[in-house]
């Protein structure tokens, strides 16, 4: 059974901008799927529709075989935004345990899980710190720990490392792969970065703008577990090149099909 099934999905915003059109996508268990595309291709919108944070205009979205709304009510997914969105008044431990409190876990189980999670994202010793006492990369790790704390089958990530410097980003990419392999979750990962998408993913979904569509899907056949050395592998370069070409093709196709509009589809 697919973890995520998207069929015939269209999203039009008020005012007539078509953010997404005719999206068909199935994501299998334990996949790591990146959504990549230029600004305005609707990749963040697609992620939010999968999470039932935005309602689609047409089409169906199923998560774990259930309608997206039901999956959200059942807390079937965790989400990580570009901003860490940590609550300033909560310590690291309390931020991580927020979803557990909402799910009415008892204190003992919460504390145990927070310990496990801080170990997973290598923040042991920082449980009592407040978000402002942490660096940007550490804050984002807390955010990932929070998203994984209640063991969701699916993790939705919206450009989680977009605001970080290149070195922190590469380090967190490796950590995310380790976490993915350890947790057994399915990942949907929105990014602007071609190398990041290829390095992390089992599949890269290339999207094109106006209206947002899937223009290509590239399977990444690099071996697992991946190490930093893979970034120098010739096959890595080939895949990066084919994603890049798919992106350009998508925008060429776009130009041929319709006159460019001044309206940005991304809200």
């Amino acid at each position: 059974m697919s973890v995520v099934t998207v069929e015939g999905l269209t999203k039009r915003f008020e005012g007539g901008t078509t953010a997404l059109e005719g999206i068909e996508l199935a994501i299998e268990e334990r996949e790591f799927v990146s959504l990549i595309g230029p600004s305005g291709c609707g990749k963040s919108t697609l992620l939010r529709i999968i999470g039932d944070l935005i309602r689609p205009t047409a089409g169906t979205v199923r998560v774990n075989g259930k309608p997206a709304a039901q999956a959200r009510a059942d807390r079937d997914y965790g989400i990580v935004f570009q901003d860490p969105v940590l609550y300033d008044w909560r310590t690291v431990a309390k931020n991580i345990s927020l979803p557990l409190e909402l799910a009415r876990w008892n204190r003992h189980r919460r504390n145990e899980r927070v310990q496990e999670m801080t170990r997973l994202v290598e923040l042991t010793g920082f449980e009592g710190h407040y978000p402002w006492q942490l660096s940007g990369g550490m804050q984002q790790r807390v955010s990932i720990a929070r998203a994984l704390s209640f063991d969701p089958a699916l993790l939705l990530m919206d450009e989680p490392f977009g605001a970080l410097d290149e070195m922190t980003r590469e380090r967190l990419n490796l950590e995310l792969l380790r976490i993915w392999e350890a947790s057994g979750s399915t990942m949907v990962f929105v990014t602007h970065s071609i190398t990041e998408a290829v390095f992390l993913s089992t599949r890269v979904v290339v999207m094109s703008p106006r209206p947002g569509r899937i223009s290509n899907v590239i399977t990444v056949d690099l071996p697992h577990p991946r190490t930093a050395a893979i970034r120098e592998d010739p096959r890595f370069f080939e895949l990066v090149t084919s994603v890049r070409e798919a992106l350009h093709l998508g925008s060429d196709l776009d130009r041929k099909l319709e006159a460019p509009t001044a309206v940005e589809a991304q809200p």
């Binding site: 939010r48 999470g51 944070l53 959200r72 009510a73 059942d74 807390r75 997914y77 965790g78 989400i79 935004f81 901003d83 969105v85 609550y87 300033d88 008044w89 909560r90 310590t91 927020l98 979803p99 409190e101 909402l102 799910a103 290598e122 923040l123 042991t124 010793g125 920082f126 710190h129 407040y130 402002w132 006492q133 942490l134 660096s135 990369g137 550490m138 380090r171 490796l174 950590e175 380790r178």
Partner: protein, 274 residues
Amino acid sequence: MTTAPVAVQPIPRGTLAGRVGRRALDWVPALVVLVLVFVVWQESIAVFHIKKFLAPQPTAIASTFWTNRHELISAGWFTFQEALGGFAIGCGLALVVALVLARWRGVGRALMPYMIAANAIPIIAFAPIMNAWFDPFSKFSKMAIAAVLCFFPVLVNALRGLTSVRPQSIELMQSYAAGEIETFRRVRIPTALPFIFTSLKIATVLAMIGAIVGEYFGGAFTALGVLIDSRSTTFQFKEAWAGIGVACAYGIAFYLAVAVVEWLTLRWVPSTGE
């Protein structure tokens, strides 16, 4: 991959004694200013031959206070109770109304312009009316004035706090299928707390003003405002000044009490936490 989390070290907080010591040092310049003001006041009255009954010397005020300390402090306590009651009623109502307006935005949009306009009204002008509505000799007439004075600033600030939550914070709560009450409790109210405390500190001052000025228009003989007013009209300015001093002391104590609660509640805010 094992990265030791060394990027950020815990903020050194030091021992309690050390922190109090540093705090005390911070206050030295302010204390110097205070002493200077009193010295200049004291000496200029002597040097410029200012009539002592118009502007008594600080030492004269202090000795008048000492002689009348029991009367003054109990009068201050009476007035402080009025201020505290008005503060509780006004702020309490304001917080409840702010929650309602934050939950039902339509109502908020309809009422907000009037709330902001009401903020600009010199509400103290209604003091004689309040004395007419309620028994001028009861504490309640002064509580009413203090409550109305406190109400609008607290309402406006609390509402701004409750509605200034980042959209992603709300999206996160939605992703956990959290209900409205959960979202208020865990996101909106904590976000609003710094705004609310700022307005509560303003409200302590307003409540004291409301109670004392209310008493100028008539009140119990045991009230501080009545005492200051009657001593001024009978040219007992030393007594009036001593009364003002007591009013200041109660007002500052009230403000500091709220500031301490704020400090205890908002430990997580960088500026108050350290």
